[in-house]
Symmetry: C2
Subunit: 185 residues, 2 copies
DNA sequence: CTAATATGATACATAGTTGTCTCATATTCT
DNA sequence: AGAATATGAGACAACTATGTATCATATTAG
């Protein structure tokens, strides 16, 4: 959003645009600016007023999603709790944000900030896995990278199940926790 | 491939096109016919000679990938073996076909044949899960749809790990099997 | 070798998307 | 109420991807 010097954006306009964009991109990657404008109930010119590029919009959206995920995870980060409890808390708050998660895996990450935010997220999960190992909640001979990948994937699977109305968010989080702890032991 | 009545296609030309298309689509969904032609080392006109549409190309490609996956899975389908062994055999042959698997999840499935091929695949996995339950290899209170989703996801995770040179195909298959059996128990 | 034909290169028309600009209207702020 | 300004609608140009047609060349088959 590099054009905000020329025009302020109204909060509900911004939200409508970003919400619509997330929704559309999650359904189909070949989304046009016109599609987004229509879905947001906003004039097409308004998009170009506030976003220099389509890339600019995507990057803004990526940053937003990444921040929401990071914030949700950080909120569960209570150092004194055992790792299993922290994992469960993380799953419970991350799974409902599956659309944000999905967006981040669909679009390529450009920009230094975004990249470092992603690495922070990765480091956080890696640290959690290692703590789970020291607490003997999971096996030490499982490669950490495998465990981290499993955590990411299970969030995605859980969100999909919730999305398909096969599970409630809590059921999904419980199943995800159980699948991870057993699966990596 | 509805235009083959007018022009025969040379086998190596077809293979070059399909290989390039799979490779490019797996890296980025916004692939143009020009990109595919260049990557295949083939004239752009040749693509339009043999594929009525871009959709036609994608559909042909989807069908090809689906067939390869089905064939690989069917080859492991030895009814007399225990379900655990069949699962392991399936993982070992499916994981190296991760690019085919990826293509199928990226592109929307159109066409009746493709849809029924997909359902056949889904039914196969569902049956395997239920057999694993009767053999008490996994817990019966785990929703079958969750287990099926886990199988699909773990193939993807395993392939990614192999792709990143973090694991060998055999290591990945073993880890995948272990993760599934423990995770769903 | 020779005929048939699949391919490559190029030019071309078409359609869709992007991005800019302008002006009237609606919204917000004082 | 009145001023400032964000928005919507539309016209516009530039660019890109798609798809067609043609002809010379390379490949294959008989």
């Amino acid at each position: 959003m590099s054009k905000e010097s020329r025009h302020a954006i109204r909060p509900r306009t911004l939200e409508a645009i970003l919400d619509a964009a997330i929704r559309l991109f999650n359904a189909d990657s070949g989304v046009t600016m016109t599609d987004i404008a229509k879905a947001a109930g906003v004039g097409r010119a308004t998009l170009h007023r506030h976003f220099q590029d389509k890339d600019d919009l995507i990057q803004t959206l990526s940053a937003r999603c990444m921040e929401e995920m990071n914030a949700a995870v950080r909120a569960t980060d209570i150092p004194d709790e055992p790792a299993v409890k922290r994992l469960h808390a993380m799953l419970k708050s991350a799974i409902p944000l599956g659309d944000r998660f999905a967006f981040l895996s669909f679009e390529r990450m450009e920009g230094e900030d975004l990249q470092s935010d992603y690495e922070e997220q990765l480091d956080w999960t890696t640290a959690l896995i290692e703590q789970l190992k020291t607490e003997q909640a999971i096996a030490t001979d499982v490669p950490t990278s495998w465990a981290v990948a499993q955590v990411d994937q299970v969030i995605w699977t859980a969100w999909t199940a919730v999305w398909n109305s096969e599970l409630t968010p809590d059921e999904a989080a419980n199943l995800a926790l159980r699948t991870l702890l057993n699966g990596l032991s």
